[in-house]
Homo-oligomer: 231 residues x 2
């Protein structure tokens, strides 16, 4: 219940959106960072962000900011947390809402990123970021790990067609563990939501590896019967 | 990255905190609601909330608001989501951050709630709430369900000493299912994080039921070895 005061007596705050943009390039999980263009901390690495404007919801703001950097619409985008510590931005009190996005690096248009000084970083090699942006990434990674076990969101990071070794690399990158090749294949195929195609990917080896496609209907059947994506 | 504009050119917004206060009275899961004292929707049922003030973080604001209604400190309180749709509050643009709290109804001081018109409601019997507060409760309940499977947060709703039937009722209330009495007891005791006391609770039956206490050390050992609280 809001206090019995006129709204106008209360303080108002800047509200920002910060986007954690995860990308997968068939072998490594990366995060897209930009160079901050103004003080405080001009020139430092930062998440892509922007201020909320009057005529949009938080989700719309996140979509606008993601689009302005990547040119992408209809990507997996989910709200994470709200950050409001005093002094988190030394220049002014800004409440920031973090969102994370999952994209395939092949869909990302590098030309758009130039004006933001955007660059992909492997997670283990990312630079130190401004404000609380390091924490935002840590929290986003935890959410990605948890969700990728109970929902097929990991598949947003893969091309439509992929090989089992590519899927294994994605899950190894998300969970930062190594899986045994044979066990991974056996386990993943026993889940019956991959459709084997009559096509091979031949870049990785001379013999080639069969391509697969994700079957969302079968996946949802599995989810509804209480299944947990564990490897 | 914030846009290359002076901060002052951007809009500022009211920021509110709304608290979903869950309570357990040894048999039912309840939510604490208040009567809104001013327009819009004066007199309607609402979550307990308040505006963020300049000199506090979001977490501190949530603690202050919870304390003002319940007189309780050091309760389980966790941030959930941020709501910012245009028109969610018809009187003004307010960005609201939801938090959920878990308390034992026996700890709640009813006298404090009188000035807010506060009342406990069983979840299935709660009235329709203002704005997006119904959605806030639904989301909080999902989080409570998920977290109570992987972390001991459910125990924040129980007295320090409890019987197995009380624990069963709590988990039935959270997950809205019925468990078989014998299976529940067997399953829960096989997890080895309940300590049986040499005391009985005799109010529920003439024979009485042994009281138990939760062993956080053993629980954490179980968690660290990849355990999931499933019944």
């Amino acid at each position: 219940m809001l206090k019995k005061k006129h709204y106008a007596e209360h303080s108002r705050f800047y509200v920002a959106i910060d986007c954690i943009i995860f990308g997968f390039d068939k072998s490594t999980l990366k995060v897209l960072l930009v160079k901050r263009k103004f003080a405080p901390m001009k020139g430092a690495w930062s998440l892509m962000g922007g201020f909320l404007i009057d005529k949009e919801s938080l989700d719309e703001a996140a979509e606008r900011i993601l689009f302005s950097l990547t040119g992408l619409n209809n990507v997996y985008l989910e709200q994470l947390n709200c950050y409001g510590d005093i002094g988190r931005d030394p220049a002014a009190r800004v409440i920031s809402v973090s969102y994370y996005a999952l994209i395939k690096t092949e869909d990302y248009n590098e030309e758009l990123g130039v004006k933001y000084g955007a660059k992909w970083f492997e997670l283990e090699k990312k630079p130190d970021l401004i404000f609380d942006h390091n924490i935002m990434i840590d929290k986003a990674l935890s959410r990605l790990r948890r969700k990728s076990r109970s929902q097929p969101i990991g598949f947003n990071l893969l091309s439509e067609k992929f090989t089992i070794p590519q899927l294994q690399k994605l899950y190894e990158a998300i969970h930062q563990v190594q899986f045994d090749k044979r066990n991974f294949r056996k386990r993943i195929l026993s889940m019956h939501f991959l459709e084997k195609l009559n096509e091979k990917e031949k870049r990785a080896s001379r013999k080639g590896a069969f391509l697969y496609r994700f079957d969302i209907v079968k996946y949802e059947e599995a989810i509804n019967s209480g299944f947990l994506f564990e490897i």
